[in-house]
């Protein structure tokens, strides 16, 4: 007796192939032209013509590609988790207030420095300083949302509480922005554009470890996630501990989204759009298939966006946040118009 649940083996093979291809394309593109053969040689530690090429590939392009993969799949998985938990297509990884918290942390660091009359050393404004401020802010707002989440029984209320915290922090940021100088504003804006580059291998190790812990948690909730598709009452009647599952989902999402936002800024759209895109492509709600599919699709789309953002052969790099929405939104709209409805 065979199970008629499709395994999508071929689709996954194609996706993996696409991921490998786009990964290589992404590494080969950049402001400096490096011949393909030389890139390959740098990766396998062979004889490279110029030492600068090797260091560009090894300490800039490859870390950036890895970051893109982690950011893309982490945010997409978080988005899927939130959409299933809240049974709401508008839910994304940031509904728990993580992005607004991180923004608040960074806004206080950059915009608030003069506001509070403090003089911070220039160290505070480095990558790592910003990451710490973002983490602290995200952690604070997330804790507030979580505390509220423990109090409320209704899952939908958590969604609204998350959104309210978002508005709250946005208004605090507006007030800070109102009193700050143009250069400070510009610096804050640059952070909020998001960025995948400039991560050292050490930072990537932190990112990767947290990512893997988050993924491990998610693997263990695949089964209850599927029963949640029938609603909480059915899930409970099938022996699922709904409250425990809900908490695990919230923890996994916070880990994934929190660490990603801390290192790469509030990258919008991916977490909301990729789950939709994947559901349209795979036409399934089964999380055993959706989760890996969303993870790979997220990585592919992030790599494509990053490749576009660095404007091949030019010295400019466009903000990654602009690219994700600029190219993602029309695709989603086109798919929806063509297919009419997404089922969750």
């Amino acid at each position: 007796m065979v199970s008629p649940i499709k395994s999508y083996k071929n689709t996954f093979l194609i996706l993996f192939f696409a991921l490998a291809l786009i990964c290589f394309v992404n590494i080969s593109l950049g402001s400096v032209y490096i011949p393909l053969k030389q890139i390959f040689l740098s990766i396998i530690n062979g004889d490279v013509e110029k030492d600068s090429w090797r260091s560009i590939v090894l300490s800039y392009r490859i870390p950036k590609a890895i970051t893109a993969i982690i950011v893309g799949s982490g945010l997409s998985i978080s988005g899927l988790l939130m959409q299933t938990l809240f049974r709401n297509p508008l839910a994304g990884p940031f509904v728990l207030g993580i992005s607004s918290g991180a923004s608040l942390g960074v806004a206080i660091l950059i915009l608030g420095a003069s506001f509070f009359g403090a003089t911070l050393s220039s160290y505070a404004f480095t990558n790592f300083g910003l990451a710490i401020a973002a983490s602290l802010g995200a952690f604070l707002v997330l804790s507030a949302v979580m505390l509220a989440a423990i109090k409320v029984r209704n899952t939908m209320s958590i969604l609204i509480i998350g959104l309210m915290f978002g508005s709250l922090t946005a208004s605090v940021i507006s007030i800070l922005a109102y009193f700050s100088s143009a250069s400070q504003l510009q610096q804050y804006m640059f952070w909020s554009f998001g960025s995948l580059g400039n991560l050292s291998w050490k930072e990537i190790t932190v990112l990767l470890t947290t990512f893997l812990i988050g993924i491990l948690l998610v693997v263990f909730i695949i089964k209850p996630l599927n029963s949640l598709l029938l609603g909480e009452n059915y899930a409970k009647s099938m022996g699922v501990n709904v409250k425990k599952t809900r908490n695990l989902i919230l923890i996994a999402t916070s880990l994934l989204t929190g660490v990603i936002t801390a290192f790469s800024g509030p990258i919008a759209f991916i977490g909301l759009a990729v789950p939709h895109l994947t559901k349209l492509l795979f036409n399934t709600s089964n999380h055993k298939i959706l989760l890996p599919a969303v993870a790979i699709s997220g990585a592919i789309i992030m790599l494509i966006c990053d490749s576009i953002a660095q404007l091949p052969t030019s010295e400019f790099t466009l903000p990654i946040n602009a690219i994700t929405s600029l190219f993602g939104a029309p695709i989603i709209i086109w798919l929806l118009v063509r297919k009419r409805k997404i089922y969750y």
């Binding site: 649940i5 089964k223 029963s227 598709l229 029938l230 059915y234 099938m238 089922y343």
Partner: protein
């Protein structure tokens, strides 16, 4: 003790309702039920009388206010979620959230209390799922998406899911609320069949009073004054049904075994 062993469900002096820190709202009290396996029970009562509350209490969705519930001789409170899921399955009246689950995937979810951590379906699980399809006559729908089904088909598929859970007790909350008379009768006779042939205990809350009177082995009647349970024929004999709707517009006709509009 010997007497107790025969009862799949035994309810002693139960009070149901809602309690919060401030106050307790009792919806019904003094409920006593002794039910044997292989029976189809219909729970009848007016809107808002507490049928859903009783079912929610019986299925451990909400706590009891007073009294005790025994399922298969085990106290309901001592059963874990998973143990309960192996004894009692549900068909709810609420709409399913939108999803692109296939019918097979939906029915297969019924195996969750028995499958491993990732939900792998063994050949035994598959066997039970296919049997559930056969019993409900829904095998041809297996590869359809749930959103493609009509209300009547969906109801049968949801019953198939409960059957896949392979529990001795199935509880259904207004399973025919959205169905026309053809599908209503169809659903009721399917359930009756499951009770008599496969020795399932089926508990249905319903407003199909006349149909329930014809098909149910036992009735649980909820009226404002009291709760009565017993065999359908005995209850008709005892004129217990007159209590159900304390209205001058409706009366129970003993010879027809039906409720009719009073011609007064």
């Amino acid at each position: 003790m010997k007497d107790q062993a025969k009862h799949i469900i035994k309810i002693d002096n139960l009070s149901i309702g809602y309690s919060s820190k401030k106050k307790t709202i009792t919806i019904a009290s003094n409920l006593n039920i002794q039910l044997q396996t292989g029976n189809m029970v219909c729970l009848l009562g007016k809107n808002g009388i507490g049928k859903s509350t009783l079912l929610r209490t019986l299925t451990k969705v909400q706590p009891t206010l007073k009294g005790e519930i025994f399922i298969n001789n085990a106290n309901l409170n001592s059963l874990s979620n998973n143990e309960l899921a192996k004894t009692l399955s549900l068909v709810l009246t609420e709409r399913l959230p939108d999803s692109s689950l296939t019918v097979f995937e939906l029915v297969a979810l019924g195996r969750q209390p028995f499958t491993n951590w990732i939900g792998y379906l063994t050949s035994e699980d598959l066997q039970i799922i296919y049997t559930a399809f056969e019993k409900t006559n829904t095998k041809h729908l297996m590869n359809s998406k749930c959103y493609e089904l009509s209300d009547g088909q969906l109801q049968r598929v949801l019953i198939a899911r409960a059957l896949a859970q392979n529990t001795p007790i199935i509880v259904l909350d207004e399973p025919t609320a959205h169905l026309d008379i053809h599908h209503t009768i169809n659903t009721f006779s399917l359930l009756k069949n499951l009770a008599s042939e496969f020795n399932k205990t089926i508990i249905i809350s319903t407003h199909e009073t006349n149909l329930a009177l014809q098909l149910a082995d036992e009735l649980w009647l909820m009226s404002p004054s009291k709760f009565i349970s017993g065999k359908t024929d005995e209850l008709i004999e005892k004129n217990a049904l007159d209590l159900l709707f304390d209205s001058k517009l409706i009366s129970f006709n003993k010879t027809l075994k039906q409720f009719t509009i009073s011609n007064s």
